[in-house]
Amino acid sequence: MTTQATSAPAVARGRLRRVRLSGLAQYAGFVPALVLFGLFFVVPLALIVGYSFWETVDYNVVHHWTLDNYRYFFSVSTYVSTMWATIWVSVAATAATIAIAFPFTYWLVRYVPRSTQRLLLVLVILPFWTSYLLRVYSWLNILGDGGAINRFLMWAHITDHPLSFFLYDRPAVILVLVYLYFPFAVLTLYASLERFDWNQFKAAMDLGARPHTVITRILLPQMKAGITTAIIFVFIPVLGEYLAPQLVGGAQGVMIGNLIVNFFSGAQYTRGAAAALLVAALIVLLLIVFRRSLEVEDATRA
């Protein structure tokens, strides 16, 4: 009996090995990807690191190691303040996104029948599959000088001239950032909340716990990984955001992404590289801090 039980999987494994390719051949499929990502993803990023430590002499990049590009960045007060502003805008946008997405996802998982959950989830993700440019652009229709909000205020005689507070300022940037990355947050939170066993909820209530105690003591600790993943998925793209501050942020809403673009379009490659590397450094820092609770696989599978 026991010998049969142990030998059956062994036979299966033996056959499986026959199906599998042997040796290096099994990795052959990686070759095109390694060429593509090696040559056009890893090498350029490494090159940017190099550039950030090289010197520009008479518009030519000289392979002479220096920290001048970083020193320059931190010597200009507008750049430094832009960097801090980028960080707090990213934190605010991420916090707002999670704060809006969490109750929504909770509602979706808890109160919506399973059969409709999928459809409602697809509806949330749908805007993500439309053009990123258009999603930013569509807000101009609402926030702009001649946009819906201002037109409405003027029509209602609350104001007689367009208010620019709704546009060309940081609140507008944060609003659009929340809009852009909301689907990421819902998707990751959903993947995590879907696995939660609601019987624990009932059990705790039966034992006399108040609803908010159940949420803070039972639900949230189990969702820590999901929430962290959501934070990372929103925070990283927001850090390098260029278009939203460009279109709805105006001069007040500049973020570090805009600085990077300005450097590169002004052919100041080494300085631009240093600024780009600061963004990369912030991302790496974030990943190191949160590396324990990353759930990338689950998020991508969802």
């Binding site: 099994q26 805007p127 569509s138 037109r151 590169f264 490659y269």
Partner: protein
Amino acid sequence: MRELEVVSQHRRLIRTFLGGWAVCVYVFLFAPIVLLVLFSFNANKYGTFPFTGWTTSWYGQVFGDYQIKDALSTSLRVAVEVTIISTVVGTAAAFPLVRSRLPFRSGVRIAFTLPIMIPGLLIGVSLLVLLTSTFHMQLSPQTAVIGQAIYTTPFVLLLVAARLQGFDPALERAASDLGANTFNRLRRVVLPLIMPAIFAGALFAFTLSLDEFIITLFLIGGHNTLPIYIYTQVKFGITPEVNALATLLLAASLVLIAIAFVLPAGVRRARVAVQARRS
């Protein structure tokens, strides 16, 4: 008893509140898009409030504009090339990712998702430096193809890998036992099974390429794709013509994605139906 009533009332209140919250979320998500579409049919020549009547003349202008025609043909050419590259590269890499005796499998998977996760801005500028300064290439739609493929390939890879993971290895073993060699197993068993995922991946890649903005902005040089064209127009303010073009692009994306979403599910349903009939 009394307490229970209070609790259930409390719960109903929470439920109503969360339901309202969800409605607000959907309004937030779709209001800008719906307004964009409405404005594209608005006769008001400033492309915004108030509504002064329905018209389709902005669409007429879009179809008559040779700059838009030009941008559209560049967009399509780029998208086709990006789709071919990322489908081939992504599908090929999905096999060893799922099936080889790979050390650090989840690490490799995360590494392949990096191009999606890091800001497109970094991909754009770093490729710009490499292609222009190191390779001394002229910026063209071809350089944009390279940049976009970096971003779209991981999507195909993840989709096909998920499909490969989900399929029963016994099928291949059976084919092998019946004497099929590696090539025949691939052609007759594996490819037909993962075809819906490959096709969906290709559609995703095509759509992402059509809509891609930031990487393209750095790498396309003097040419325009549709999003780049819209961007150059937006700088001068909202126009109804751009609203119409945006609506068309939106519609195209949604149709393509709908097909990509429905396709694998449809195939699955067909297969279940076949199995049900057999048993």
